[in-house]
């Protein structure tokens, strides 16, 4: 059993290192900088209609600068808050996400020269009577986590007796106002203006608060070279007129819209057709995460489960402790801890996919271990005694006599766990893995078709779960 165990551990380790080396080698060889950005913050960043690239003022400037200065960028749409945290943890090289330069942020980040002047504005429903901050007294307001608009609202919260609801991205925040849950939303003025022009049923009221400047950020004291390149590139763009072209392209009178789809592509079938490529990529990523996580979690679960029933108090204790920790931690906390917490401490990057797999393996593995333990214990004691009385060592008795019987007892739990694993992959959207849920968020942020898109995503999940269940039952029948 020893040999078997160490082989599996070696294998898992090799896979982890392999993935790790793979991603870090690429960045070293080609001088590619990984830039984090928001999921949607039009006109600064949003996914293009083709569903492949990110466009917007931020994105176009970033790419133009890269071209001027001769480096490559790898854009990661993590969401604003996750991007900022990933930068702090050194997981990415820079953040270009309409980030307002503020003294608090300057403690942790070094900023480029300002590339855009903005400020906070308030938007309310089109029929709303609210005209100024004074009208907000005792009302509910929607804000987006980690933004300077949110900071502004929090600073006046007491004074105006406002309660806040916090969202991860702009489109959910707008929805909250449009559905009437909140009376107003605060966001950067150009973003609000752009959204309204593109069909959000809201209007801007009041003045521009907290005039601010947008800057490109790197982690304090690191990536000096990148910052210098950005500043020099930006200067060149401003000088040669490219900068003005980009800004006009998105905010000028002929500005193009993020969601200019025709009526026909607004039906469910139409949405499916226009987004099929993106959805399929998300689907593939979800399947990959699910399958890899199931394999690792099953191996880990069986090892931990067997440790839990071994005739050794230390192994039992270790098993129980690990199960306790990883079953007890919410998956989302574990994901952030591994993706952001650990790199923050050690300074080494963990690719999001690897972090996601580790997260799922630990969490699902702990659940698996618990029912593996139960399954083994459910096998009659007499079986182990009979096997040992024949002179079989513990490990052989376990593998040849107990486990084959235990596995049969565990099969329904395994199938259940596979389905849970599939569903849990959706939580990994928080660390920016482009699986099905994150893909959905991004598409919706662009086309604002919340109901139809989430319906499509839900149906896709149900289809996968049906297939998975069907496959598992087939395997179950084969075994029995």
């Amino acid at each position: 059993m020893k040999k078997w165990q160490s082989m599996i551990i070696t294998f898992m380790f090799a896979c982890g290192v392999g993935l790790f080396l793979h991603s870090s080698q690429v960045s070293a060889a080609e001088k590619t900088y990984t830039i984090g950005t928001d999921v949607t913050y039009a006109p600064f960043e949003y996914q293009a209609e083709d569903g492949k690239s990110y466009v917007g003022i931020d994105m176009d400037i970033m790419r133009a600068v890269a071209k001027e200065e001769g480096f490559k960028v790898d854009i990661k749409a993590l969401g604003f808050n996750a991007a900022v945290q990933a930068l702090e943890a050194n997981q990415i090289d820079g953040v270009m996400a309409g980030m307002t330069v503020s003294p608090e942020r300057q403690v942790k980040f070094d900023f480029s020269e300002s590339y855009y002047d903005a400020g906070v504005a308030m938007a309310v429903g089109t029929n709303s009577t609210i005209k100024s901050l004074d009208d907000l007294k005792g009302k509910k307001v929607a804000i987006k986590v980690g933004t300077s608009s949110a900071e502004f609202v929090n600073s006046i919260k007491k004074q105006y007796n406002i309660t806040t609801t916090t969202f991860d991205d702009s489109s959910n925040m707008y929805d909250d106002v449009m559905t009437g849950n909140s009376v107003a939303a605060f966001d950067d003025k150009p973003v609000l203006a752009y959204g309204i022009k593109n069909g959000i049923k809201m209007k801007i009221v009041g003045e521009t608060y907290e005039k601010g400047e947008y800057g490109f950020a790197v982690k304090k004291g690191t990536n000096k070279e990148l910052l210098t390149k950005f500043n020099s590139g930006l200067k060149k763009l401003k000088a040669n007129g490219e900068y003005k072209k980009i800004v006009d392209k998105y905010t000028g009178t002929n500005a193009k819209s993020a969601n200019s789809n025709s009526k026909s592509s607004r039906t469910i079938l139409g949405l499916l057709k226009t987004n099929s490529g993106t959805l399929f990529d998300g689907f593939k990523q979800t399947m990959l995460l699910t399958i890899v996580a199931i394999v690792f979690a099953t191996v880990l679960g069986i090892i931990l489960g067997m440790m839990g029933v071994a005739p050794n108090k230390w192994l039992n204790g270790l098993s129980s402790t690990l199960i306790y920790i990883f079953r007890g931690l919410p998956l989302i906390v574990l994901a952030f801890f591994i993706y952001i917490g650990i790199p923050n401490l050690t300074g080494t990057k963990i690719p999001a996919f690897v972090a996601g797999i580790i997260t799922l393996t630990l969490n699902e593995g702990a659940y698996t271990a618990a029912f593996v333990k139960g399954g083994i214990k459910a096998v009659d004691n007499g079986q182990m005694e009979a096997a040992r009385s024949l002179g079989l060592p513990y490990g052989k008795a376990m593998m040849k006599v107990i486990m084959p019987q235990g596995i049969k007892i565990m099969i329904p739990s395994f199938i259940n766990q596979f389905i849970i694993t599939l569903k849990d992959t959706s939580i990994l959207s928080v660390i920016g893995i482009l699986e099905l849920t994150q893909t959905g968020k991004i598409i919706i942020a662009r086309n604002l078709e919340g109901f139809k898109m989430w319906l499509i995503i839900a149906v896709i999940y149900l289809v996968i779960i049906t297939l998975l269940t069907w496959l598992s039952n087939l395997v179950e029948r084969k075994i029995k």
Partner: protein
């Protein structure tokens, strides 16, 4: 000649409950010892100590010159030489009868698979179940199961066999077949320790009958002595109850 099994001052506690209170017993080669006694007297516990399915609290057990209470003794090797048959058979339900019998010899590389299969077929013939090689254990009657269990234990070619009430979970009409197999084993010179309520079997087959009560061995002598002239009052009492039931 040195004893095949030598038990000296064996004590066994479950927590604070002392179940075996200092037992001494010596079993000679080819001897058949039957253990009788009331329920809860510690017979099973004693038997399970002999191949160390239970840890000893104190005392020593020497089997074939190997002290099994010594932590350095390789129990897996000792156990290969001591077959055990359980009240509830404990056949492996996930494999066939034949696989039950060859599992240990093949896994422990005692024999090649071919040799083991051949030996298993011979053993199945010996216990009268030649036609059941490919049957699933759960399709057998209790008596058949117990005979397979005996064949499985014999497949390791042990020279000691332990039986813990091998017939008490069987329907009466099945008991005879199992006892016949055991009688034949005794005739062939197997060293046997048998916990049983079958007084007829003890009378006929045992070289010695040991009476246990409350964690002590109270009497140990030939079947004739014990059944005709029991000395201890507890023995008399017990025999009265079981023989006149």
């Amino acid at each position: 000649m040195a004893a095949k099994i030598q038990v000296t001052n064996l004590k066994k506690n479950y927590g604070s409950n002392e179940v075996l209170k200092g037992l001494d017993l010596s079993v000679a080669e080819k001897e058949v010892v039957c253990m009788i006694g009331p329920s809860g007297s510690g017979k099973s516990t004693f038997l399970r100590c002999l191949n160390k399915l239970e840890d000893l609290t104190s005392g020593s057990i020497v089997v074939d010159g190997h002290d099994i209470s010594d932590a350095k003794t390789d129990l897996n090797v000792i156990r290969q030489n001591i077959g055990m048959v359980f009240q509830h058979f404990n056949l492996f339900p996930h494999v066939t009868v034949l696989e039950n019998i060859i599992l240990a010899p093949v896994e422990l590389k005692k024999e090649t698979r071919e040799e083991a299969v051949e030996e298993a077929k011979r053993l199945l013939a010996q216990v009268g179940l030649s036609d059941k090689a490919d049957a699933a254990p759960n399709s057998l009657s209790g008596g058949q199961k117990q005979r397979v269990a005996i064949a499985r234990a014999l497949a390791m070619k042990p020279d000691i066999m332990l039986f813990d009430e091998p017939t008490s979970a069987l329907d009466p009409e099945m008991v005879g077949d199992v006892l016949d197999v055991m009688k034949q084993l005794a005739k062939d010179g197997m060293t046997m320790v048998v916990v049983t309520h079958e007084m007829g079997f003890a009378k006929e087959v045992a070289d010695r009958v040991v009476f246990m009560a409350d964690g002590y061995i109270l009497e140990s002598s030939t079947p004739d002595e014990i059944f005709s002239h029991p000395k201890n009052d507890r023995t008399k009492d017990f025999l009265n109850k079981v023989l006149n039931a």
